[in-house]
Amino acid sequence: MKKLLFIITISLLFFQPALHAQCGEALKKTALQEMGDAQYIKDFSILLEKSPTEAKTGMIRFNVLLNSRNHYKFNVVNGSMNADDIVMQLYDKDELLSSNLDSGKKYKSFEFICRATKVYQLVFSFTGGQEGCAEAVLSLVKQYSEGQMGL
């Protein structure tokens, strides 16, 4: 019995870093790999937890300055314990500009061709209000000239 308890205890102590690893640096590395050939600009660590009084998690918002004529990529990687995939949305104040949730399908990334330099809001949430973590990366895919912006 003592032996069993000892094994369980040691297992629990050593298992704990693996839980941390499902979020932190290891997840960030995966997100950086999935960024592909784009040029890294910034990363975002997301942790959504419920307080004892909350029934659902809320959202996390980051402000990002995006420049006109720049083609950006936003990619996100979910923590392995997440019950659902995270929703990543880009807003200009109250206007939703782009999202990785499109027609009911969740994508790992979306790209955004910016045509107005200003501060935008990058918002992360879970549709069902679950708890979870994720790492996202903002990167630069391409820079267009004035003439190319007619697309």
Partner: protein, 306 residues
Amino acid sequence: MYKNFIFSLLIIASVQLFTGCSGCSDNKKSSSGDALTLPDSLITDAPLKLSEEIMNEVIGNISSPVEMAGLFKSSGVEFTQRILNNPDNVSNYVTSYKRALNLGVYSADLGYINTFDKNNVVVSYLLAVKNLADGIRVGQFFDFNQLSRLASSSANLDSLMELSVTSFNKMDSYLREQNRSNVSSLIVTGAWIEGLYLSSAIVRESGDEELSNRIAEQKNVINILEIILSNYVSEPNFADLVADVEELKKAYAPIKITTELGEPQRIEKDGSLIFIQAEISTVHYTKEDLNNIMNVIEKIRNKIVA
């Protein structure tokens, strides 16, 4: 005794197991509002006293030198080390104020160097960054040996750029977590001014229109920078820097940015979604406006690196 010990260990391990995920991220944010979208009410002449939390949000809004650096190469202008801050100047920077500002300056220079794949000069700039970072007690974020190893081959320059930028971002997050946003704000200011200074040097040589537009578009950023620095105006040296930024804001005053609404577009390509923004902004300025801005930028930058 042994049983009790095992039992205690088990309890501790279980508690840690079930609370373990609180360490998923070190960047937990409140879900409450306060998104700083620079409403008109914030763009005033009066200095504002902002909370550390809001300052963190504002500082994060200054764009990365990476984006400016990308335009340097496409301008067609040859690389010139002459326009960069000499890494030997590091020994002149003995105050935290000067070290932080010039850490930002050298970070923008590194972006410029990396853009042109000049791995022969990159190490001296990495060393300058490391020295200044050590001087303000954030040197732990720069693994100089790893950065130097990457710099030894031009094949690694993308990785070098990525590692440099992630190191800067980690340092910036740490400074803000430690309530040292004043230091962070100086690094950001130094990087932003140097990015504009390098752009101005290239525009003066080539007349590049893309870079000229990018300089003019920074009118939107000058207000953010003013808010950031005004918050620390009572600290030594900041008042002088705020006065310089205000002079630059005046130079930016004639610049007009208009917006029109086009059609938003959504494209699905190779399993990825691409959204093209409907709003289109256009920047309007004269050569004289741009020249005035570039003169002020050069003046501020030369003061920073002196």
